[in-house]
């Protein structure tokens, strides 16, 4: 206890020395707090993103193998098409077999079927208006018994006798306007069937959100949810029914009750020329319903899309090998969303790497500076060590006292540094993030320039500027937003959009404080090591003789 008391007294009475050490520790801890906060937040963002967008694999066509085999056989185009059609689709049983793997967290699959629907319009902006003019001729014959010369003494044509017959022709022109989809074909709608809520990742992730009604928990019922766009366009609401038409046999119809309306939260249109989201024409139902359609018509080929949720990156190769061993056709291959995830989190990961490097450099430089200062400090306090040792204080206790002094100063420095770090970490993190986004965006801009797309963008911007000028009630921010052709760079050229994560909310939280404390203790121990060695080596007699 007296060691602590003596350490505190020593700190109080040697302010200059301890303030200098304190300032160095404040600088180190502020830099560490900032970098740790950025690192932690970046990790959280990446983890959150990865949780929201888990690493998934699916089975897609291996076009390379397909084309290679077809070309090798010197087949004609017709033969190639026939050969392609003969490739067997992935079956539900195969998916279930592949799904039983230790490399997966879980798996699910959806049935997709293109169908048409009775009396509802597809949500597409390719609608055209056609006006049909119908001419109807009506003939009216009127007979009149003469009671006088009512017609001016003229004889009616072709009629003699006691009565007069009049035939009148009337031509009616009817104009009919019909709005139809010029691209509309059979199968304008996509029926997507799920097996359970767990499989409906778009709803779990928040990409889709029910705005009215609900998704029915009965995955065997004839129920569905439709998009807001489809509902608005066709005046449909919860409780309405839609009639699905078998695309191959139009006499087969099925009724689905709408239990919910959903909206898509993500901008997945990927195409500036459409006003609807890509999910607008999706009718989300259950696999039981789709299987009912399939049972009645075996000619229909559904698309079964499996989604395998992988454990981690290492599982990709293992799972691919496993599936190949289980007999996946050479015309299929496993594809993953790893590149998308990495592209989306690249900026944050770059910031994280920078923060880690900066942290290491700070700690090395800080550690060296502290050791040097501590060594100078020990040389200055040699006499004190000599006196304490002479009056019987053990080496270990002298070392503990010196270490405690440094630890107390370090703790104060850490607190102040953490405070500074918490204030400055957010703007610094976001500034770094902005630089990363700018760098990534310039990459897109360069690619766009290579394609000459920048000219189109500029024209578009100019047009939008004109429109915006007319809209005087728009705020500056809104105008800015409108002018920014964000969509132009979304998933173009095979590169994921960079604005997935635009800022880091770096926070010096409990976790960061604990790490900071750990850093403080390690730095204290390392720099105290120098004093401990010195104390162990110093002979009190020599010190006091030197002093005398």
């Amino acid at each position: 206890m007296y060691i602590l008391k003596n350490a505190i007294t020593s700190i109080k009475r040697n302010k200059g020395r301890n303030i200098l050490i304190g300032i160095i520790i404040i600088v180190i801890s502020a830099a560490s707090a900032i970098t740790l906060a950025i690192r932690e937040s970046a990790t959280k963002i990446v983890t959150a993103y990865e949780n929201k967008n888990p690493l998934t694999a699916t089975i897609g066509m291996n076009r390379e193998n397909l084309m290679k085999n077809l070309r090798d056989g010197n087949k004609s185009q017709e033969e190639m098409i026939n050969a392609f059609n003969e490739i067997e689709s992935i079956t539900e049983d195969q998916i279930k077999e592949y799904g039983h793997s230790s490399n997966l967290k879980s798996y699910y699959y959806t049935y997709e079927l293109s169908v048409d629907a009775k009396d509802i319009k597809e949500a597409t902006d390719s609608l055209v208006k056609e006006t049909t003019t119908t001419k109807t001729e009506t003939t009216t014959t009127t007979r009149k018994t003469p009671s006088g010369n009512s017609n001016g003494g003229r004889m009616p044509p072709g009629g003699f006798g006691g009565s007069t017959s009049t035939t009148r022709r009337k031509t009616t022109t009817t104009k009919t306007e019909k709005i139809f989809n010029e691209k509309a074909q059979d199968g304008a709608f996509t029926l997507i069937g799920y097996n359970s809520y767990e499989d409906m990742k778009d709803f779990i992730n928040g990409n889709y959100q029910i705005t009215s009604g609900e998704v029915s928990s009965d995955f065997t019922s004839n129920t569905c949810v439709i998009s807001e766009e489809l509902a608005t366009l066709n005046n449909l609401s919860v409780g309405s029914t839609i009639t699905i038409i078998d695309p191959k046999t139009t006499s087969n119809t099925y009724t689905l009750e709408i239990t919910g309306i959903y909206k898509e939260n993500t901008d997945s249109s990927q195409n500036m020329s459409t006003m609807f989201t890509s999910s607008a024409n999706n009718i989300i139902t259950n696999t039981t319903f789709i299987k009912t359609i399939l049972e009645k018509n075996s000619n229909i080929k559904p698309t079964i899309t499996p989604t395998f949720i992988l454990n981690d990156k290492d599982s990709i190769e293992n799972f691919t090998n496993e599936v190949n061993e289980k007999g996946l056709s050479e015309y299929y291959k496993i594809t993953t969303n790893l590149q998308d995830i990495e592209s989306a989190t690249e900026s944050v990961n770059n910031v994280k790497t920078f923060a880690t490097t900066f942290l290491i450099i700070t700690l090395i430089i800080g550690g060296v500076v502290l050791i040097v200062i501590n060594m100078i400090n020990i040389r200055e306090r040699k006499y004190e060590i000599g006196v304490l040792r002479t009056i019987g204080m053990k080496k270990s206790k002298v070392s503990i006292q010196f270490m405690l002094e440094l630890l107390i100063v370090t703790l104060f420095g850490l607190l102040i540094g953490a405070g500074i770090g918490s204030i400055t970490s957010v703007p610094i993190a976001n500034s770094l993030m902005a630089n990363e986004i700018e760098t990534a965006n310039s990459k897109y801009d360069n690619i766009e320039k290579n394609f000459g797309l920048n000219n189109r963008k500029e024209n578009q911007t100019t047009t939008e500027e004109k429109q915006n000028t007319e809209e005087s009630n728009k705020t500056v921010e809104e105008e800015k937003e409108t002018k920014e052709p964000v969509n132009m760079k979304d998933y173009q050229f095979g590169i994921a959009k960079v604005n997935e994560i635009e800022s880091i909310d770096a926070i010096v939280d409990f976790n960061v404080l604990i790490k900071l404390l750990g850093i403080g203790i390690i730095l204290t121990l390392i720099s105290s090591l120098a004093s401990m060695i010195a104390i162990a080596r110093f002979s009190p007699l020599t010190i006091l003789k030197e002093r005398s």
Binding site: T9, N14, E384, V387, L388, T390, I391, L541, R547, S548
Partner: protein, 220 residues
């Protein structure tokens, strides 16, 4: 009288000295409680070296030193220095960032003295060596040389050791203060039954001591 400290055939040479170049050679002294001993000699005769051996600050020597029949080579010297022997230096060796009483209390703390009111005891000790309460709360650098030496003596008394060794305790002091300090040492020996060993050049100190040992270089 009982020998409290016995120096038996002690020889010492510096690490870098020649094989036969001893500072102290075959020294045999006995020290008793209640006596004042003066060890005198010319510069380089090994006075301070002998003192550092007795105080346990130097461990590598030939021969044996016994404190109450316990060989210093076999006991914990830190414990020996903070319980059994008090050391007073010519240059006082007080901690400058502490007050007079804090220096004494720190010594008590190191010695693990079980005293409820250490400050009160420190003041009593300071009064015993001729200092007053006001001086106890002053930083030692604000005290005069004589006052600092009194604080050093009070510190050496803080854990009530049986032996007090002093290296030129009056070397930096005027005659009057020297006399006062010597009075304190004599009182400690004759009234409190302490064994006082003073290394000195001063004839005055030798005159006031009960025994005088003279060290001569290269002489046994």
């Amino acid at each position: 009288m009982e020998n409290i400290l016995k120096v038996s055939n002690v020889s010492y040479r510096y690490k870098d000295a020649n094989k036969d170049d001893y500072v102290l050679k075959n020294i045999n002294y006995n020290f008793q409680k209640g006596k004042v001993y003066a060890i005198k000699g010319k510069s380089g005769s090994g006075k301070t070296t002998l003192l550092s051996l007795i105080s346990g600050l130097e461990k590598k020597y030939e021969g044996e030193i016994f404190y109450k029949d316990k060989n210093l080579k076999k006991i914990d010297l830190d414990n020996y220095r903070n319980h059994d022997i008090g050391i007073v230096f010519q240059s006082y060796n007080l901690l400058p960032h502490l007050t007079a009483s804090e220096n004494i209390i720190l010594s008590m703390d190191i010695s693990k003295i079980k005293e409820k009111n250490k400050k009160e005891l420190a003041i009593k000790l300071m009064e015993k060596v001729g200092l007053n309460k006001n001086q106890s709360s002053r930083r030692v650098l604000k005290l005069s040389g004589g006052e600092q030496q009194r604080v050093a003596i009070a510190r050496s008394l803080s854990y009530n050791p049986e032996i007090i060794i002093a290296d030129e305790p009056t070397g930096n002091l005027d005659k009057e203060t020297e006399t006062e300090i010597l009075n304190i040492f004599n009182d400690l020996a004759h009234k409190d039954d302490k064994c006082i060993i003073i290394v000195t050049h001063s004839q005055n100190v030798c005159d006031r001591s009960d025994y005088v040992y003279e060290l001569k270089k290269n002489e046994t």
